[in-house]
Amino acid sequence: MGGTVLVLFYGSILFCIVASAVRIAKYLTAPLHLRWELYRGSSVYELRDWWQKSPRRLGERLAGVILDVLLLREFYRRNRSFWYFLFLFHLGLYLLFVWHLWLFITAVTIPFEAAWDGGLVFGHIGTALSFIGGSGIVIKRAVDRELNVYYGRIHYVKWVLILLILAGGFLAVVFHFDSDVPQLVRYVNTQVTFQNLELKLHPALGPASHVFFVSFWLLYLPFSHVLRLFFRYYQYLRWDGVPNTSGSTIEEKVTENLDRPVSWSAPHIKPGKAWREVIRDTEDL
């Protein structure tokens, strides 16, 4: 059993990294598409000779993105009743991230006995918020027709898994480690420094069940919305509002695109030729 958890856990980490890398590569190497922006207010096109003006600064746009991601601002503006639970859930996740980060750093940098007991508060508050938020989301999804109209059964499995992870982590800390932070930090240190293979192969039930559920989560993570959102914002920050000027990278990419063959089959398109030829060939239409 312990060996299985071990293989599953490290296997899931490996899978998560590889699958994420494959997906990232697929998006990063995607051809530069036609511009299709939306504007939340005035754009550079309100100006005469707009192509001579600098696009908005990266820092300004990045700040907007960070606020969007952390506060889920668009949900707040457009779907407030859903936002309450969604925000609680995500706020809890952020705290849990801080908690785990603190745990790992503490485990390898200071003596276990010196670990701050109060650190546990981050973990418990984070767990509680995520659990309340997650449960609220599941209930709301189940009872509100607008939220369940196309919500597939499989998605509820995802939420059950998340709630199990949260509950498992909490129970492990409270019952297996007796809420004793130095004991917990010592355990983490042993795990991350690979000092005790026996402990890895035969972990106690509490930590093992938490790790077991987390492993499944890691298998799912590369296909979740997290990675997709990353691409959305990456593309926004990298290309939106950047004009195609002579000799620019964009012009180079557009030129490459126009050299691609056209493959569509409708009568007004002659397949086999490159885009640059097809779009200039309007003789036999």
């Binding site: 922006e37 195609n244 200039r280």
Partner: protein, 534 residues
Amino acid sequence: MKTKKTKVSDISRGRDEPLLEISSQDWIPLPCTTDQSVPIRPLTDEQRKQLEHSLDDVSALGIPKPKNKAEEEKLVQGFLNGLRRLLSQDDNWTFWEPLVYSLESCVRCQTCSDSCPIYISSGKQEIYRPTYRGEVLQRIINKYIKKGGRISSKLYGEEIDLNWPTVARLAELAYRCTLCRRCAQACPMGVDNALISREIRKLFSQELGIAPQELHGSGTILQLRKGSTTGMTPVALRDNIEFLEEDIAEIAGRRIEIPLDKEGADFLLLHNAGEFLSWPENTEAFAIIFDALGISWTLSSDLGGYDVGNYGVWYDDVQLARIAVRHAEIAKHLKVGKILIGECGHAHKALLVLADRLLTGELNIPRESAIPLLEDAVCNGRIKLDPSRNDFPVTLHDPCNMVRLTGIVEPQRRILRKICPQFREMEPHGVDNYCCGGGSGFAIMSSRNFPDWKMNIAGRMKFKQILETFQDVGDPDTRKYVCAPCSNCKGQIRDLLSYYGAREKYNVFYGGLTELIANAMVDLERPFIEWEWH
């Protein structure tokens, strides 16, 4: 059964039985007695016999029914081939990334639903929900394109069978969205369901050759062959311009030349061809203002040079690129400094935004909207204006393509605040505006019973907005003006006002922005706006 409870899997059911039986009882009410609630005309028996109509008993496309099973299967296979191309980076480099993102990223929160004027106006009919068509497409992809899809799709719930009724309904469904992208603006995840509609349209056009006649045969094909979607030839254009010059002479009290094919001009002004035929006063107003400003400009009589419209934006990337390149080649040939885009919303999107990733080298000629130039003329006192000449209630319709999709929001407002003492905003406005209901080609699509659907459902929210905006000046003796700086929007608003009798009942007129500026010019001998219905 036929209204709000429609399920995703219903798209593949039965043959001729419509998924939705449209009832005027479901539509949102209008704030006046103008609410005719006239039912949508049914298709004729002959049309029902020959054409696909199983979505909602409305036919926008006029797709002929397949003659036999083999033809059906060929069409279904063609659809599947097209779908594979849509999902290929090589075949669909133009939109692969935003399409795949939109298909994969919906969290089913339905935040977008309440932003869709068609969904709301129809009384929240499920098939018009912005996410419905994306949901259908995604489930087809999951089941028929992805590896192991036949098994995994069972885990998800409601399965869709890919058969001819599914394909035919999906084709029509892509033309129940005006591509206004209000749903995309509302989506917290940045999912663009309007793009999904457009990509479905594209699949049908580029793979199966299925597109509305008004957009393709009489649209982009005619424009590329004859020079304009109106069928106007270069010879007819020259005659038209002579007429415009005579008309201007009567208004201005002197002859103003409209330059044509002038090489080396600073600006090549591209109008939508609809202006020359239906709203010549718009082209006249531009000529009068440019003359007053002493601008070096020209029109073009080259094939396509007098029609900035680009219907490819709405349904076909190849046609979009062909027309954008044609416009750029004309500007290059005339050796002009810039292309200036007149009052045409989708041309703004096509030439300023989309074409930025299509034109390279010498064809990447500077292109800008005419609106900032007009703002400069009005707000910096470059022409003499008397706002009291526009002392009547004026409101502004925001063309989606110009505002939400290109980000030109404020200059037109600053102009109107300066020259129209009774200017008032519609609510909501700016980037949150409602589409006129004629977007994505609907304004010119008038076959079978589609116009009834367009007036009653697609345009209902806009007409409601117009009435509400002028509610405090309901007196029929007071002339009211809806300013729509877009040729397609003008066409749709004209049809809406006529359909509901708003001109007779409420004295509501419509027109462009430039006409209001010309109307305020003190140098003209008589008022520019004649309050005549076109």
